[in-house]
């Protein structure tokens, strides 16, 4: 509905840059309204059900927003109308029809943590991703850069993005969508990770 697109929590989301290679993606300076962004950051810094996930090659705190009791002012983030609006923006930006299912996971990176190069591709899994940065301001010395690659070789860097709070990257998941997060040295780096699925027959 047009009113949702103009006034919903995802109203600010508009691509400011896009690319087709090495994989289809877009960047946005902002994704959420300032009020939602501020409330969300404050909530994530409080008592939310973080789970530490450790593997040989990445370590971070995570939780699925379906497992959390969202405060009233943030419930709109997962309201079907708002997620439908967000899905429409993703469809326009990435030129692909998407199905109604949208998953939302929060991530938290603390100093010392990083995520090695990977591509998110999983047979039968989600097909498109939107990652929204949330933090109190990270300097270059703090690290936590979102890195994009031309191949699965870490030397083959395509682009390095600062984790500016409120900014977002949306991309189509494929064998080529290699990315990583460099080690965080200071501050706390939160992200909201939205997962989408290509529409049946799309």
């Amino acid at each position: 509905m047009p009113t949702i697109a103009l006034a919903g929590p995802y109203a600010p989301l508009a691509p400011c840059d896009s690319a087709e290679t090495p994989f289809r993606y877009f960047l946005a300076d902002r994704c959420l309204t300032p009020e939602i962004e501020s409330a969300l950051l404050q909530w994530l810094e409080g008592s939310v059900p973080w789970k530490l996930v450790e593997t040989d090659f990445y370590e971070q705190y995570e939780f699925d927003l379906r497992d959390a009791a969202l405060p009233g002012e943030l419930a709109v983030l997962v309201a079907p109308e708002a997620l439908g609006c967000l899905r429409g923006k993703m469809e326009c930006a990435l030129s692909c029809p998407l199905g109604p299912r949208v998953d939302v996971v929060a991530h938290r990176l603390d100093p010392g943590q990083r995520i090695a190069i990977h591509n998110d591709l999983r047979e039968g899994g989600e097909t498109h991703r939107l990652t929204v940065q949330l933090n109190r301001g990270l300097s270059d010395e703090d690290g936590g850069f979102f890195m994009l690659f031309n191949s699965d070789d870490a030397n083959d860097v395509h682009r390095i993005l600062r984790p500016a709070s409120g900014s977002a990257i949306g991309f189509a998941i494929s064998a080529a969508s290699h990315h990583a997060v460099s080690r965080l040295y200071g501050g706390t780096r939160y992200t909201l990770v939205y997962s989408f699925h290509v529409a049946a027959g799309g």
Binding site: L41, E62, R122, R136, M147
Partner: protein
Amino acid sequence: MPNDPVPAPRPAGSNDLDLPLVDSVALRRLIEEVRKREAGDPAGATLYNRTYHRHNR
């Protein structure tokens, strides 16, 4: 800190998201930080993806 302000929005069209790709010690360090483990280590993109989804679904 919880009471710190949320950073102000950046001017439209600014390109301060990009870290310049200048061959440097700093860039080499970033690459090493995200490199997959070398031969013999099963941890690769596929394993990462499976692990990520096991923990999030």
